[in-house]
Amino acid sequence: MSVVVIVCAVLLVVGAVLAVVRAEKGPSMLDRTIALDIVVTTMLAGIALYAAVYRRADVVPILVVLSLVGFVGSVTIARFASVEPEGEGRVRTREEIAAEEAARRAAEESERAEAEGAVTGEHHESTPVDADEHHGGGAAGEVR
């Protein structure tokens, strides 16, 4: 029996690790959602295995709660999934972040210089903001 339990535990752990690898690689948010769903299911199975080995009926409520939580998580992410630009889901390297920061700072600097250079009395017409965005409208690229 203990051999069977160890084999079960190893299978569950390997399955969860593979799913985590997919969650790390996953090109899109939805792939990660699926992978994390599998991780949650594997956790459910692991807790059930624990309860079966030690005959503990008191961990059964944990199973109920975990199945609820997994559902809410995946539906929430799927509801707010949007079109991601190419390469958006990738974790950036340190150099890329530094380059982005530098570009942003340069843009800010030039903006400030422009504002100082402008005539003080002149009233710039502010760019019209997208009204939708500030009154509960959908975000750009949101799935309805």
Binding site: T42, L49, A52, F71
Partner: protein, 140 residues
């Protein structure tokens, strides 16, 4: 058979069920890592979510053999069977509308075909995926 013999049978069956559930979880891990696109990964991922969970919980119920806990396990199974299709539908729909579905891997693509027919072939007929802006709203 004696009482003790039935206990042994229940334990053995429960171990087999647990082993099956664990194997399905492992298969889901392999499938989700190796399959090429979103729908195939969803296909792999739903195996432990329903059949694997049912197997594991049957194994647990056979091992616990007490009334209250078994009813809670039935509750878990019923809840999972109600929610897994909803979650899968939401994920698949979002994947279709955001262009995560590779149509070259699909054998049958009825949704794209029906949308093309409905639009009267205005935007190229079948074979085109609806854009998120207009087609996304007019989908299912």
């Amino acid at each position: 058979m004696t009482h003790g013999a039935w206990d042994t049978v229940a334990d053995v069956v429960s171990m087999i069920c647990l082993l099956g559930g664990a194997f399905l979880a492992f298969a889901a891990g392999v499938g989700v890592l190796r399959f090429p696109d979103l729908l195939a990964r969803m296909h792999a991922g739903t195996k432990p979510q329903v059949l694997g969970l049912v197997l594991v919980l049957v194994g647990l119920a056979l091992r616990l053999r007490s009334g209250g806990a078994v009813w809670a396990l039935v509750l878990v199974v019923v809840f999972q069977m109600l929610t897994a299709p909803v979650a899968a539908h939401m994920v698949g729909r979002a994947g279709f509308r955001t262009g995560k579905v590779r149509s070259d891997l699909l054998v049958v693509d009825e949704l794209t075909r029906d949308l093309g027919e409905r639009d009267g072939g205005a935007d190229g007929g079948t074979g085109t995926r609806p854009g998120v802006g207009d087609g996304g709203r007019s989908g299912t």
